[in-house]
Symmetry: C2
Subunit: 188 residues, 2 copies
């Protein structure tokens, strides 16, 4: 079974590499928009759209993932610019939010291709962030390729988290390990 | 107020630097042993012994911290060698443990020097780690300068955490920010 990561994210690539797995990378199509009122359904749809946007061969296992931040009923994706990045951080400051990732896995043994997906959620509590900290972080360039406009590994805004840490970075590692184990057990 | 980090830990130094604070570093004396049955008391005593083991000047604020891992009633400090590092990981595999840090702050304004301390706790749940993963991690050299024999930032063993992430890295950042704010407010 050859592993393929369907993602353009350098953080997902780094996490998968750290797991000691061999894999190649395919870039997915840019996904559709996620609506506030239907974010779970749309998140799953996006992860599945990603995984189905690239070629698939029977001996492969494709992995795709999509991550969003939800705060006060609002879905925060990647900020579009300096203004929106600062707006996101002001919204998150001193509040609890949730990070949702949908992990999708596509594989085949014998019959037609099978796609499995699972959503993982981590609650994150931010301390109060000062305007000076927001300004410095937004200027650092860190927010722009990250859902919610922050990286938990490159900021110190989280007072507390509850759930999978790697999920906040963009890949729910233990969910992935469980999924891959289940596929291997079926192959036996 | 000049900030001094009383620690030999490169991770504490990196976290403090990321907060944008200016500080100098002083190496503390090696602390005493922490007993399983009295770990909270001993942990506080160790943090205070560290902060009191270096010179202090009235215009300074000293920060010291000590971190331990507690699993099944047993205190895990830094592993003494490859055998103990592997033993620690086998104990932690598939189980919940707690990471305790005691943060101590020493400062002075007007009267005699004041020392404050606070213990922060984070619960960490490990997935099952395979013998091959333990072997690879132990051989990487990562366990030996870390309480419990793992780094949350350089391993992927945690399935879930509940509490401050930076505390697991060795410095409860939001506790530190609150302590420093309290001191600054008193100075006014």
């Amino acid at each position: 079974m050859r592993l393929v990561l369907v993602s353009a994210s350098p953080r997902r690539r780094a996490l998968l590499k750290k797991l000691g797995l061999k894999f190649s990378v395919r870039r997915p199509e840019t996904p559709e928009k996620i609506r506030d009122a239907h974010f779970k359904k749309d998140l799953a749809r996006t992860a599945l759209a990603k995984i189905n946007s690239v070629p698939f061969r029977p001996e492969e296992a494709l992995i795709a993932c999509d991550t969003i931040v939800v705060c006060r009923g609002r879905v925060l994706g990647k900020p579009r610019g300096i203004k929106q990045a600062a707006e996101f951080l002001r919204l998150l400051s001193g509040r609890r939010h949730a990070v949702y990732s949908c992990l999708a896995l596509k594989y085949q043994h014998g019959g037609p291709a099978v796609v499995r997906h699972k959503i993982a959620v981590t609650k994150v509590y931010f301390r109060g962030i000062s305007p000076a900290e927001i300004k410095a972080y937004v200027r650092s360039g860190a927010p722009y390729d990250k859902a919610g406009g922050y990286g938990i590994q490159d900021s110190l805004f989280a007072r507390k988290i509850c759930g999978c840490y790697y999920n906040v970075m963009g890949l729910p590692v233990s969910v992935l390990i469980d999924m891959l184990k289940a596929v291997k057990n079926k192959e036996k």
